[in-house]
Amino acid sequence: MKRSNEPIFWSLFGAGGMLAALVGPALVFITGIAVPFGLVFKPETMSYAHMLALSQNWAGKIFILAVIALFLWHAAHRIHILLHDFGVHAVTAVRVLCYGGAFAGTVIAAYTLLMIKA
């Protein structure tokens, strides 16, 4: 029987899922609710200057890339299964769409981060 290639996607799915499960709620609260609406944190928490500084250092770059890319891969894998669960069986097309999207997002994020020079 043919060895499955699932491990590649599953590993990314798992990493993204774990990251989302551990810090997701806090992250959403910070970026989507607290900071934009001036709750809890200082208003300049996500100012251009702060964010630029974050994306200029390597740890920051990795964190940002990890969050965006792994979330995308996590989601891509599940959406792929979801479509299969709903009975969409155009396997190749679905794969290209899901994983292609995650790949594109990863490339864009990585490129943007590389372009941001210290």
């Binding site: 060895r3 491990p7 299969h84 669960d85």
Partner: protein, 251 residues
Amino acid sequence: MADTEKIIEIEVLRYRPEQDKEPVWQSYKVPFTDDMSVLQGVQYIKDYLDETVSFRWSCRMAICGSCGMMIDDKPKLSCKTFLRDYYPGKLRVEALKHLPIERDLIVDATDFITKLESIKPYIIPKEERTLAQGEYLQTPEQRDMYEQFSSCINCMLCYAACPQYGLNPKFTGPGILALMHRYNADSRDGGQAERNELGYADEGYWGCTAVGYCSEVCPKGVDPANAINQNKMNSAINYFTRFVTPGGADK
């Protein structure tokens, strides 16, 4: 009988391939007492109301695995599900979902059996031992590593529970993968590499999307979802390291 008789309505999904185009519901009124199982209810129908109603059963004590049915849409062993729990309402019984209906409450088990035969469900000894040398030593802890997975009675309830099997019958499915894990996890066994060929394929562990309902319905606490999903990590590690670890690239 000591307690007064009550009457319950049982609807049976009938399918007689020689006369029905598709399954139809048929209703029966069955007198029952509180200690009667759904199986006994269906037996009453066969004995006294309609001899043509067909179903499998034998042990009546939840160990032979014959009598699985959908009871009000849940996969259950009919011999350990009780009519009293459905009274005064009615109940519906149907052949196990996701498997082809052979006739009435009987499913076609061919696929299950073929898969069972395909996974080398026997000890492939790590080291040979003669009878004169006595038994392999195995501590109670070593036994605990596989005992739970060896309790499967092949009732196929987990197949009726698993949508991934319903959507794609090529998927080996929960019960059989649990059995495969049972042998892999046995301290006497050395056949993991041979069995992993199937385990690591799309039809193996990877056909499971961790729905988990299989474990929920299992009447014997086998926890097939665990047997499958704990192996995904091994499979992934093996996938990435197979070219660097000696013997890691087992087929």
